[in-house]
């Protein structure tokens, strides 16, 4: 039985009408995953559970029982999200055989709405990276060009949607880890407002930045997933009590006559690192938005070159603290040869963590260490406040900020060797997690080199509905 995916709602209608069963749908995805094994997207495929869930759903429909909002929806999860009884590794050797004792809240919510979890996806180790080359389980390949990276750190989840190995997927975004691979792979990737989605059961990288968010092909699908996973969670004290809107319904009924106010930074679009074709595409979009009656104005933002440094001081500090729990004692890899307590810890960490993770732990320890704490860590927290104030100031005058998602299209595997150069791949994506604002990468463009790239939009905090709404508008007419 052949299956062509267009949207979750369309699929659900077809299932209800008996045109296709959930079982057939799962068979389809298992087959695609098998055909595209070379992309190294999945660390594990849950075929058995997926078929069980599909059959249970098919039976529910046959007997006219109530089904969840996401019935039939095949989802892949980045391997930092815990699923009870399954391994979760953060693509690290240090967690190679770790089994989750409970479900992450996002998993509970997906399952409660009858989603089908098809597998866990490869990523950069502990979500640290912009190319998926830091995974200890091998590179993920970009499905459009196998010599190119998919971006990172949620590279596997991006390619899973790009290559049609699932309908939607979840990733995590700390400095761009959803939006940057979404841009490189030509799909939608959204980082919600900090506090919108629970981080309970999600392996931490930098706790004041990390957010879970969806990859999807359409704004409607992203909206549906987000409204299921978002909202207050008693297990995560940083989740907001603000009610979650029915994003999918709201944007389905939106009127196209709304006119928005956009700001853009000429320094960003004109930045020397930006590929000329990307620059041109963004300027063309700005002109088209203006022609359609939207207001788009240039706005000076003088902190552009400070964003990545702030990000690295604060995230490495939080990472060095978060990753101190991996000591080879309570769980995870242990160097069995060590006979002294100190050696158990040091050897296990040195053998279990990859190079980039160790580099970031060292920098984080440096900025937190006595004598440097105020000059680096506290100073960066103050700059974070300044950047947040400035961003709030801009968003008090405008609805959205337009930026390129990435300065270039997907680069070659092995092409970028210098860590600092790699960090600059996130130059336009770090602002939103620094300030806590939601942001989305909309797949609008194709470069003459054949690779896609996205337009990034930053919205006001907790205005996910508006962000999805403008995404839908752009996908329809731009």
């Amino acid at each position: 039985m052949s299956f062509e995916f267009s949207s979750i709602l369309q699929m659900q209608e077809d299932v209800r009408l008996g045109k296709i069963s959930c079982r057939d749908i799962v068979s389809h995805y298992i087959a695609v995953i098998e055909t595209k094994k070379h992309l190294n997207v999945f660390l594990e495929v849950f075929a058995e559970e997926a078929f069980q869930k599909a059959e249970a759903t098919d039976n529910k429909i046959k007997s006219s029982e109530k089904t969840g909002k996401l019935f039939g929806c095949v989802v892949a999860l980045k391997d930092v999200i815990s699923i009870k009884g399954k391994n979760v590794t953060a693509s690290s050797q240090i967690l190679k055989n770790f089994t989750s004792l409970y479900n992450a809240t996002v998993v509970e919510r997906l399952l409660a709405e009858d989603a089908i979890i098809i597998g866990r996806t490869n990523c950069d180790e502990f979500a640290m990276g912009s190319s998926n080359e830091n995974s200890s389980f091998g590179n993920v390949l970009n499905d459009l060009d196998n010599t190119k990276v998919p971006g990172g750190s949620s590279g596997g989840s991006a390619v899973a949607v790009q290559a049609g190995m699932c309908m939607v997927s979840l990733g995590t975004d700390t400095g761009g880890s959803i939006r940057q691979p979404a841009s490189f792979c030509g799909v939608i990737g959204m980082k919600p407002t900090y506090g919108r989605v629970s981080r309970y059961g999600v392996i931490a990288y930098a706790s004041s930045f990390d957010q879970v968010g969806p990859f999807a092909k359409t704004a409607d699908d992203a909206a549906l997933i987000l409204e299921v996973i978002a909202g207050k969670d008693e297990h995560d004290a940083t989740t907001s009590i603000l009610p979650v809107e029915e994003y999918s319904k709201e944007i389905r009924n939106q009127k196209s006559a709304i006119k928005y106010k956009f700001a853009y930074y000429p320094q960003a679009i004109g930045h020397e690192k930006v590929d000329p074709e990307i620059r041109e595409a963004i300027y063309n979009t700005i002109e088209k938005l203006k022609a359609d009656g939207h207001s788009v104005e240039a706005k000076d933002f003088k902190y552009l070159d400070y964003l990545v440094p702030v990000y690295y001081v604060l995230t490495t500090a939080e990472a060095s603290s978060n990753l101190s729990r991996y000591a080879g004692i309570h769980y995870g890899y242990r160097d069995k040869g060590a006979t002294e307590m100190e050696d158990v810890i040091r050897n296990s960490r040195s053998k279990g963590f990859g190079k980039e993770v160790q580099r970031r732990i060292m920098l984080g320890t440096f900025v937190l260490s006595s004598g440097y704490y105020d000059a680096y860590y506290t100073h960066a927290q103050k700059v974070r406040q300044i950047i947040r104030n400035e961003t709030e100031n801009i968003l008090s005058q405008y609805d959205y900020i337009i930026l390129p998602t990435t300065p270039t299209t997907a680069f070659g595997i092995g092409q970028i060797k210098d860590p600092i150069e790699m960090y600059l791949a996130d130059i336009f994506t770090v602002q939103a997690p620094i300030t806590g604002n939601p942001a989305i990468s909309v797949p609008l463009f194709r470069h003459s080199n054949g690779m896609p790239f996205g337009l990034q939009i930053i919205g006001k905090r907790y205005k996910e509905k508006e962000l999805l709404s403008v995404t839908k508008l752009l996908q329809q007419g731009y």
């Binding site: 089994t99 960490r349 160790q358």
Partner: protein, 97 residues
Amino acid sequence: MKVDKQLVDKLANLSKLNFTESEEQEIIKDLNKMVDFVDKLKEIPVDGVEPLIYMIDETNVMREDEVKMEITKEEALKNAPLADSDYFKVPKVLKKK
């Protein structure tokens, strides 16, 4: 700011990481680059600015302080690389001379 061998040794100790000599040379080089890169932040004056620490605006959201049993002892020990039925096991810390 210059990162030297002495500082890297100190940081490696605090981080509980080991580096071979060649790895150490590499990490000294990388950390110097990274520190130079973040030193750019010193260009921004921060006098009178409070550090941004909490990312959500809501404060004092209360809940009942209830005891819940969510993970059993067996489960807690399940992922341990070395444990008996009651405890995580590590090498002897206090030794007879």
